[in-house]
């Protein structure tokens, strides 16, 4: 599974890099959402391979050879934070749309008096 995960991470990161370079706010938001998922996959990828290990639940006697439960906790936290920030980004983009009437970031520069 490791090679497949690696290819998936590569795809996520490269597509999101392309999207983050775009001038449309919507593209940027999708780019960020994809990138955060790519990073979550990377946490999974860097942790131990759980093949042949037992579920990390202690029933009476503690067993050795557990699968590492920590990456899942990390990913869960990262997903929640990423989700909240994506939501925040969407709201900010909505405010920008209300302010300038467009989601094309290139046209904001012309409106700004300082640039």
């Amino acid at each position: 599974m490791e090679l497949e995960t690696l290819i998936l991470i590569f795809l996520f990161v490269s597509v999101s890099t392309y999207l983050l370079m775009q001038s449309q706010l919507i593209d940027i938001i999708f780019g960020f959402a994809l990138l955060s998922n790519g990073v979550n996959l990377m946490i999974l990828f860097t942790s131990d391979n759980p093949d042949g290990k037992t579920v990390p639940i202690i029933l009476g006697v503690a067993q050795a050879n557990f699968a590492d439960p920590l990456p899942q906790a990390l990913i869960l936290t990262a997903i929640v934070i990423g989700f909240a920030l994506t939501a925040f980004m969407i709201v900010l983009a909505l405010r920008l749309f209300g302010q300038f009437g467009t989601t094309e970031t290139n046209s904001y520069t012309k409106i700004d008096p300082d640039d």
Binding site: I43, L85, M89, L92, D114
Partner: protein, 499 residues
């Protein structure tokens, strides 16, 4: 040790209280009590750690290295106290601000979240916990920026958000990589595991990733573009707060990572930081010279002075780190007070374009005196606090035979003098026909008190340089001793879970 978690919990409690209070008067009073209490707690922590004690608090009694550990040493306590004083001063200042115009309901609760996040990121020694605390701190700052930026500058809120989010994801990558390699998230445990691996390319790459991520937050050379534009359009108390806290936490984490966690001086990496620091210093101050508003000049100076702090890191000796620590504390107080002074001056004229101002030295002599003291301190005139930090940094780089770097540091000081004189002549000395908004100046008491606290603190730092220098040296020597940290953290043997 309950006292270590208090700087994190207290702001959260006050966040809840001020979030639910409906009466504006009481909300402001509670906010003042909250920041005052936080300052007292931080001063107490600094006092208890003054002889170089390392204190730990293990969250939930789970045994280290798997449980989350909070750690307070002298280095962290110095940062904690100086940042806490900034929160106190800007809070008092914003009491005055609230008289002129209504303040957003969420500002005070968000500032408490910011304070809690900063305290947690200064005290935690767990990588993932550091990520969460950075998110706490940055999420509060995103919200504050997008609430308080004027509508026409709102696009800078979006770029601020995006830039910091990408940095955050980079940090998550770094945490994942180090966890995959060492199987630990506790900084002291990692430091113990990798302390011999100076030539490991993985560690080097990891170091570069961390430099990029925290350099982005601190605003070092190629990554500072977002800073002046976002900061310079916020209300004065918020600009001052962000300038004094967010970038400095970035520098703090950089020093902690490179000195305490990563093994020894990583040669190519330290060379890279040295070049970056030189460019940061020089380009920051050149940006300041090109600006024409007080806030613009001061915002570019943040970048320039980050260069000095990073210079201390790149020299990588205990003395250099001590002088960087001295410089950072001085810079936090002086820079914040200059932003606040700029805020008062801007309020008087309704704009802070230097071409439209003048006469302030006659109209507000007290403000002029404050500005003069702090500006000369920023430039580095003896015996003010800025002199000692810069003197130590320059003498250390000459001792290590980096003559060019020392020359650039001195040149930067000279250019700082030039840009500070620009503010002094433009706002305080020149004759101006523009009418001052006298009506808006009826109460400046809070603002003078808040600036006065910081001026007093930085003067005390300048005149008590000997004591401060000894303590800074102690703090710097302490973070070079990894074994001590490993020992303290693993000394706890009773608790839940096994090793």
């Amino acid at each position: 040790m309950i006292s270590i978690s208090l700087p994190i919990i207290t702001p959260l409690i006050f966040m809840v209280i001020t979030g639910f209070l409906h009466v504006d008067y009481w909300r402001r009073k509670m906010a003042l009590i909250g920041v005052l209490l936080h300052t007292c707690i931080c001063a107490f922590l600094l006092w208890t750690c003054r002889h170089g004690e390392i204190k730990i608090a293990v969250v939930g009694e789970w045994l280290p290295p798997y449980g989350i550990v909070l750690l307070a040493d002298l280095f962290a306590c110095f940062f904690l106290f100086s940042i806490s004083l900034v929160f106190l001063a800007t809070n008092i200042y914003s009491l005055g601000e609230a008289r002129d115009q209504p303040v957003h309901v969420l500002r005070i609760p968000l500032i408490f979240i910011l304070q809690s996040g900063i305290s947690l990121s200064l005290l935690t020694v767990d990588f993932f916990n550091l990520f969460v605390s950075f998110e706490m701190m940055l999420a509060a700052s995103y919200a504050l920026v997008s609430l308080e930026l004027p509508e026409k500058y709102l696009k800078w809120a979006f770029s601020y958000l995006l830039v910091n989010l990408i940095g955050t994801l980079g940090f998550l990558c770094a945490a994942a990589m180090i966890y995959g390699y060492t199987g630990h998230l506790n900084m002291a445990a990692i430091a113990g595991l990798i302390k011999e691996q100076q030539d490991n390319p993985l560690i080097l790459g990891w170091g570069y990733l961390l430099l990029g991520v925290f350099g982005l937050k601190a605003g070092i050379f190629p990554l500072f573009f977002w800073l002046p534009r976002t900061y310079s359009h916020l209300p004065p108390s918020l600009t001052a707060l962000f300038a004094g806290t967010l970038t400095k936490v970035g520098v703090y984490v950089l020093i902690r990572m490179f000195v305490m966690v990563l093994p020894g001086p990583l040669l190519s990496l330290n060379g890279g930081i040295l070049i970056t620091s030189v460019l940061t210093m020089l380009l920051g101050v050149l940006g300041a010279i090109a600006s024409t508003t007080i806030r613009g000049i001061l915002s570019y100076h943040i970048i320039s002075q980050i260069g000095y702090m990073i210079l201390g890191l790149s020299l990588y000796t205990p003395l250099a780190i001590a002088s960087a620590l001295f410089f950072i504390i001085h810079n936090i107080w002086v820079k914040v007070s200059l932003f606040l002074i700029g805020g008062v001056a801007r309020q008087a004229y309704g704009s802070d374009d230097l071409k439209k101002m003048g006469n302030l030295s006659i109209l507000m002599p007290c403000l002029g005196a404050f500005f003069l003291v702090q500006a000369f301190s920023l430039i580095g005139f003896p015996p003010l606090s800025g002199f000692w930090g810069k003197y130590l940094l320059v003498s250390e780089s000459i001792r290590l035979e980096y003559y060019f770097v020392a020359a650039v540091a001195l040149l930067t000081s000279w250019l700082t003098l030039f840009s500070m004189l620009k503010i002094w002549i433009g706002a305080f000395w020149q004759n101006s026909n523009n009418k001052i908004h006298v009506k808006k100046l009826y109460k400046l008491k809070e603002k003078y008190i808040s600036i006065g606290i910081l001026v007093f603190a930085s003067l005390a730092l300048g005149f008590g340089a000997e004591t401060m220098y000894q303590k800074a040296t102690l703090a710097a020597q302490q973070i070079f001793q990894k074994e001590a940290y490993v020992q303290v953290i693993f000394s706890k043997t009773t608790g839940k879970g096994t090793r």
